[in-house]
């Protein structure tokens, strides 16, 4: 394993412009847990040579809320609201991943309409997550205010849809084992179609302003490169993996739900730098919109939950199952071990943003500290999921 170490890393000749050798100590900086750029309570212990990062150790656990332990003392259904709070931007995809794992374990079928609703809500979730990320990423780059405000303006439209469907803006708690909690309210599909139809105009505006922006390109291109081989070895998933040019999307590979019925492309990056990660998200939003258009057109009628699904007294047979989906941040998996009781014996979440941070140090070494901030921003972490 060729891990770069601070010693093996040639930073720069320590001479000033006249050729005199400079002497100086390394500076140790503890960024976080309260730091405006760390997206919550994340900490990086950074060793700096001048402004250059020579060592970076992430420190976790400031939001370790013991989700897994609590879930082992709660019924299967009782953990559903907790999954909302995992990655609090994307409660609906979290619900889906958990429901998928339990459905595998208990052998439940999901009615067609519910599958469509799941796809629609999951893609809406992806939209609002990616748009929020782009705003935050630009905020980290110093574009204070405007991009984030635009992003949140658009995000609110999606949140309104969630609210009218589930009653909550962020903590939707909507999916159930074998379907969804309730049917779509009257007029919801129309409302969703309007949001989907208006979204491209927003994206156009956003892209005109930002994607070709010289400052953005100067700040992000070539920064935080991640080679495809390292990304795969480091279990990186999601948009970050695809930005490195690896064609791997769980929606295409596993074809869970009904994703095989929709036409969409998987955008891939060339360079694996921060700019590619940003662009992948923008392009994924376009693809999500394409899926949404097809799903909103084709949604059939029918029940939204398997009538055989038991909500109370739910006890799957002993065994284990692993269910994973392509969450907006990467591969979100749930691993459940059942001992036949009402509570899961072991409940494990595979948190994509936590595992994507494995290679943070490799991406940041040799870059300046300001680059480390945007590299972290481009990983798209949510601390609720990183620390659980």
């Amino acid at each position: 394993m060729n891990r770069p170490t601070p010693e093996s890393f040639v930073v720069r000749p320590r001479v000033d412009h006249e050729g005199t050798e400079l002497e100086g100590d390394m500076l140790e900086v503890s960024m976080g847990p309260q730091h405006p750029s760390t997206h919550g309570v994340f900490r990086m212990d950074v060793v700096l040579d001048g402004e250059t990062v020579v060592k970076l150790k992430p420190v976790f656990g400031y939001l370790h809320r013991n989700h897994e332990k609590i879930a082992e003392g709660t019924s299967y259904l009782g953990s559903m609201p907790y999954t909302d709070r995992l990655d609090y931007f994307c409660s609906l995809t979290n619900n889906w991943a958990y429901a998928l794992a339990v459905e595998r374990l208990a052998g439940l079928q999901v009615p067609e309409r519910a599958e469509y609703i799941r796809v629609i809500t999951a893609e809406l979730t992806r939209l609002q997550n990616h748009v929020g990320l782009c705003g935050f990423l630009l905020q980290d780059m110093g574009a204070l205010g405007t991009p984030l405000m635009w992003a949140f303006r658009q995000r609110e439209k999606v949140l309104d849809l969630f609210e009218s469907l589930t009653g909550a803006r962020m903590m939707c708690n909507y999916m159930r084992f074998g379907g969804c909690r309730c049917d779509l309210p009257a007029g919801w599909l129309e409302q969703a179609r309007t949001v989907v139809a208006d979204f491209p105009a927003f994206l156009r505006e956003f892209e005109t302003l930002l994607s070709g922006n010289e400052i953005l390109m100067a700040r992000t291109q070539g920064v935080g490169r991640l080679s495809p081989e390292l990304a795969v070895a480091g279990s990186v998933t999601g948009p970050m993996l695809r930005a490195s040019g690896v064609d791997y999307d769980v929606r295409k590979v596993d074809r869970y739900g009904i994703y095989d019925r929709f036409e969409f492309r998987v955008p891939l990056g060339d360079h694996g730098d921060v700019y590619d990660r940003y662009m992948i998200r923008v392009l994924e939003m376009h693809e999500s919109l394409a899926i949404l258009r097809q799903a909103l057109k084709g949604i059939p009628g029918g029940p939204v939950i398997d009538p055989k699904a038991k909500l109370r007294g739910f006890r799957p047979k002993p065994g284990e199952s692993y269910g994973r989906i392509e969450g907006p941040k990467g591969e979100l998996g749930f691993y459940l071990v059942s001992d036949g009781g009402p509570n899961p014996y072991r409940y494990r979440i595979r948190p994509p943003s936590f595992i994507n941070l494995t290679l943070l140090e490799d991406m940041c070494l040799g870059r300046s500290i300001a680059d480390a901030v945007i590299i972290l921003g481009s990983v798209d972490i949510v601390l609720g999921e990183v620390d659980r």
């Binding site: 847990p33 309260q34 730091h35 405006p36 919550g40 309570v41 656990g61 400031y62 939001l63 370790h64 809320r65 013991n66 989700h67 332990k69 609590i70 003392g73 609201p81 907790y82 709070r85 609090y88 931007f89 984030l148 405000m149 949140f152 303006r153 609110e156 803006r169 962020m170 903590m171 601390l383 609720g384 620390d387």
Partner: protein
């Protein structure tokens, strides 16, 4: 003290009469600068409140300061874990007086849904004095605005003299609170006994 009736009468004539206390509190209550400090999910709603749709700047609080030295208000937005609790207290201690705390969300009030967690502090009240609690999981941005208005009213009603004057005008009241340490099994001490006393509870029936 000016008579209220006379003051209103003068106001109709375009003459504003006020007391130093009112002026001081008016200024303070309308420029409460929060510390930009998000802990968990509730922080996203806090950010949403500061965005264009809810626009917290209508109430003079859009200036989220990254440094505690410049902030007046700490919005504890999210779950305080035991690993984070010392840092929260330290940040509070670093804020200059007068300072206020809003506990936003069920987690900050009591541990909320994560109350049974081994690493979750069951309410920031155990370590810091809280002025306003906002229930909800997460509270909507409107609720945060409501809390802010309630805080403004509280500030506006403060007396600058007399025995009931606020903490920052009293030499004997503490403005810093002890920072707990990491122990082998729990925080040491797990709570500030001088500050927080559990409400005596007797189960009915």
């Amino acid at each position: 003290m000016i008579d209220e009736g006379l003051k209103n009468e003068l106001a109709k004539q375009g003459v504003v009469a006020t007391s130093l206390q009112e002026l001081y509190n008016w200024g303070r209550s309308n420029s409460v600068w929060p510390l930009s400090f998000g802990l968990a999910c509730c922080a996203i709603e806090m950010i949403a409140a500061s965005m264009s749709r809810w626009d917290i700047s209508r109430f003079g609080s859009e200036v989220f300061r990254p440094s505690p030295r410049q902030a007046d208000l700490m919005i504890v937005a999210g779950t305080v874990t035991k690993k984070m609790a010392p840092q929260v207290v330290r940040l509070y201690n670093q804020m200059p007086e007068p300072k206020y705390v809003i506990a936003m969300g069920a987690c900050a009030i009591s541990g909320g849904p994560f109350k049974q967690g081994y690493n979750v502090l069951k309410g920031i009240d155990r370590l810091l004095p809280v002025d306003i609690h906002i229930p909800g999981c997460p509270p909507r941005p409107e609720a945060l605005l409501h809390a802010l208005i309630a805080l403004q009213e509280k500030i506006a009603g403060e007396k600058l003299t007399g025995p009931n004057r606020p903490r920052h005008l009293r030499a004997d009241a503490p403005s810093e609170f002890p920072v707990p340490e990491f122990g082998p099994h729990d925080l040491v001490p797990p709570k500030n006994d001088a500050l927080w006393k559990p409400i005596p509870f007797v189960r009915a029936g």
